[in-house]
């Protein structure tokens, strides 16, 4: 983290960039800083990336370091693991989480396991980036949210940048990690704009962040759902309900201490996750709150998650399947009134 500290956050002008540009800047910066860093994935080069993230990087860094791969998710993710073992610092892009299942064996059985199984001999300094989530009418096979699968796996670090600053800064920190890191970029965020301190780069990845302070209920979320929670919090505020919104940022390890501290104050928690409810990340967060905040809770922990269906194409059905600010606000209201009713 030493390099990190040398570039202190200064109160410079904050240029407004998109999340897409922030990721791109993060990649560009890493590649300029460290020759061992390279980007590999389907269509990251000539095409500029499935979501346009790497547009222009081929011109700057050439084909060796902006490496187009064939359609072979298992193969090139495994090759990324091998390259990391061999001394490189690969950034492997899997176009979307949906296709990452083809590489899950390599990620679990090799990347996450080699260090422990080899008795500490071989670490895997690999960063895997992928787009996740729904909301763009791409239908079932292109709208999954499978973060929970990855958050289940010891040996991985799993990140979900929900802001422009995290989109750029987490990559730096991830590349300094000696172990494999998976970064989920929600597909709906790429066009989001935000201010980006020109001179602050690497961000801490160990702590969740209180995105909006509040008093009455804690909304715990990450990634693409953060905006929905902030929107819901805004609507609730108009009714006098002050919701605290926590952006988990790191999905593995989970900074549950920040969550517990909040719930100890608000006495109510609502976990919001775009993934299916059953056995998703929301289950883990809810279970931990139940375990650790049992005597603080004034109401059962609530969950807002995706309806358990493959996400359908039509807008109205997709919207009905996925969490929305309205559903979140409604669940928060129920949590407050329900518990009051129960305690009355």
């Amino acid at each position: 983290m030493s390099r990190q500290q040398t570039r202190a956050r200064v109160a410079a002008e904050q240029p407004v960039v998109t999340y897409r540009e922030a990721v791109r800047e993060g990649i560009r910066d890493a590649m300029r800083r460290d020759d061992r860093v390279f980007l590999m994935g389907e269509d990251v080069g000539r095409y500029g990336g499935g979501f346009g993230v790497s547009m222009g990087l081929l011109e700057e860094f050439g084909e060796e370091r902006i490496r187009d791969t064939p359609l072979s998710e298992g193969g090139f993710v495994g090759a990324g693991i091998g390259a990391a073992l061999g001394g490189m610092r690969p950034i492997v892009e899997i176009m979307t989480v949906n296709f990452s299942l083809l590489a899950l064996d390599q990620i679990l059985n090799s990347a996450a396991t080699l260090l422990h199984m080899s008795g500490g001999q071989f670490n895997v300094p690999l960063v895997i980036r992928m787009a996740t989530g729904g909301g763009r009418q791409l239908a079932a096979q292109h709208s999954r949210s499978l973060e929970g699968f990855y958050a289940h796996i010891p040996g991985l670090r799993v990140l979900a940048p929900a802001t422009v600053a995290d989109a750029r800064g987490m990559l730096w920190t991830a590349l300094e990690d000696p172990d494999p890191v998976v970064i989920f970029e929600h597909g709906s965020l790429y066009n989001m704009s935000g201010g980006l301190p020109a001179d602050s780069w690497a961000v801490g990845i160990d702590r969740a962040m209180v995105s909006r302070p509040g008093e009455h209920v804690t909304l715990v979320t990450h990634g693409g759902s953060l905006r929905l929670c902030l929107e819901a919090a805004e609507a609730l505020a108009a009714e006098g309900i002050l919701a605290e919104v926590i952006d988990l940022r790191s999905l593995r390890p989970l900074d549950d201490a920040t969550v517990f501290e909040s719930v100890a104050r608000t006495h109510r928690a609502l976990v919001v996750d775009e993934a299916w409810r059953t056995c998703g990340l929301s289950a883990e967060v809810a279970a931990r709150i139940g375990e650790e905040c049992f005597y603080d809770l004034d109401a059962p922990v609530g969950r807002v998650a995706a309806v358990e269906v493959p996400v359908p194409y039509p807008r109205h059905l997709e919207q009905a399947a996925l969490p929305s600010a309205e559903r979140i606000a409604a669940a928060a209201r129920r949590l407050l009134s329900g518990s009051e009713a129960a305690r009355a």
């Binding site: 389907e42 269509d43 080069g45 000539r46 095409y47 500029g48 499935g50 187009d68 791969t69 064939p70 359609l71 072979s72 998710e73 298992g74 193969g75 949906n98 296709f99 083809l102 763009r136 009418q137 791409l138 239908a139 079932a140 096979q141 292109h142 309806v307 358990e308 269906v309 493959p310 359908p312 194409y313 039509p314 807008r315 109205h316 059905l317 009905a320 399947a321």
Partner: protein
């Protein structure tokens, strides 16, 4: 539809138009087909290709108008492949394809109304609107998708053929995929399974030269795709995918062998997409000149040149009418009630449409 209906009469003749070569002896350059005189049969092929073309041109407009959403992959330029192959596929044979599936659905005989309604996400659509452009499934014509995981359809085709074999049926299963898909492990495993078990599958590679922005030579070390089939002992043909007669002829020969117990066959159709990969992309990865060169071989123009005594304008206006009717049908369609969102996650107690046949 009419092409397929009139097929039995013409498939013998079509054999003569085949420019296939057996495994190992493929000469990609020798792809000019022998032409037959124009015939009602060729007219039907033309009509099918035109239906696909006009349908998609209209979809592109509707996409700009934001009435169609999501990912849409146009088949424009590649119409001869689905048209030529599916002309030779029997009604009860299974067809598996990819997200670039409008052409296959239409050539297979899925009613255009239902396809257009699907693109609009209407409950009148072929999948109740749930699949959209990338996921056209149609039980009556045994169209098993519309699979959007690249390579994901190939194992399904192997299994469909396996079921046929185990149930004592002698029919083929046809599976379409792009040349990019051939780098996936699923391709390798499926080819081996089909060959090992000598299953009746016709693998049709739509080689349009690109997987998104990645040219074949930058995605595969061996660009002679027929050699890949040889690695499994599967006979391979290469045909001119811009010439619907050539495709049809090659498909006819390959399918005859497949149905005859010859095991799986591999057909490479050399083709080209005239448009971007999905609705829009920068197309920075292709030469303008390359695109123009291929457009000279537009499959519709090629075939039109052989239809001297046919009133193409009449066909054009019939097709235009059909497309407009489809748009109207989709427009008049309904959203599936939100209350039905969770239907069909699992089967309903009494299945009927959903029962496997």
């Amino acid at each position: 539809m009419s092409a397929r209906q009139s097929r039995r009469a013409s498939s013998g003749a079509a054999n003569g138009a085949a420019n296939g070569a057996a495994n190992g002896a493929v000469d990609p350059a020798a792809s000019g087909a022998a032409h037959e005189a124009s015939s009602p049969d060729l007219t039907a092929l033309y009509r099918t290709m035109l239906r696909i073309r006009r349908f998609e041109e209209r979809c592109a407009e509707l996409y700009s108008a934001e009435r169609i959403r999501g990912f849409v992959h146009l088949y424009i330029g590649e119409e001869a492949v689905a048209t030529g192959v599916l002309d030779q596929v029997l009604p009860d044979e299974a067809v598996v394809t990819t997200y670039r599936d409008h052409g296959h659905a239409l050539a297979r005989g899925v009613p255009m109304n239902e396809v257009m309604a699907e693109m609009h996400g209407r409950v009148e659509g072929v999948c109740r609107g749930r699949g959209g452009s990338m996921h056209l499934f149609h039980a009556p014509t045994r169209l098993y998708g519309g699979n959007a995981i690249v390579g994901g359809g190939l194992p399904l085709a192997v299994g469909l053929a396996l079921a046929d074999r185990m149930l004592g049926r002698t029919r083929a299963t046809v599976c379409f995929f792009g040349e990019g898909a051939m780098a996936e492990g699923a391709f390798h495993e499926s080819m081996n399974l089909a060959a090992l078990w000598r299953l009746p599958v016709l693998f049709v590679c739509e080689n349009n030269g690109y997987a998104m922005g990645t040219a074949l030579e930058r995605s595969q070390s061996e660009t002679n795709l027929a050699l890949k089939a040889a690695a499994y002992g599967i006979p391979a043909w290469t045909c001119d995918g811009m010439d619907v007669e050539a495709v049809r002829g090659a498909a006819a020969r390959a399918l005859a062998l497949v149905r005859d117990g010859g095991g799986p066959m591999f057909l490479e159709a050399r083709t080209y997409r005239f448009r971007a990969h999905s609705m829009y992309d920068s197309d920075r990865y292709r030469d303008r000149a390359e695109i123009d060169r291929w457009k000279l071989r537009d499959p519709l123009v090629l075939l039109a040149g052989r239809l001297d005594d046919v009133d193409l304008e009449a066909i054009d206006s019939e097709v235009a009418r059909e497309v407009e009717e489809a748009v109207a049908f989709a427009d008049a369609g309904h959203d599936e009630p939100v209350s039905e969102l969770t239907r069909y996650v699992t089967s309903e107690p009494i299945t009927s449409a959903g029962a496997p046949r």
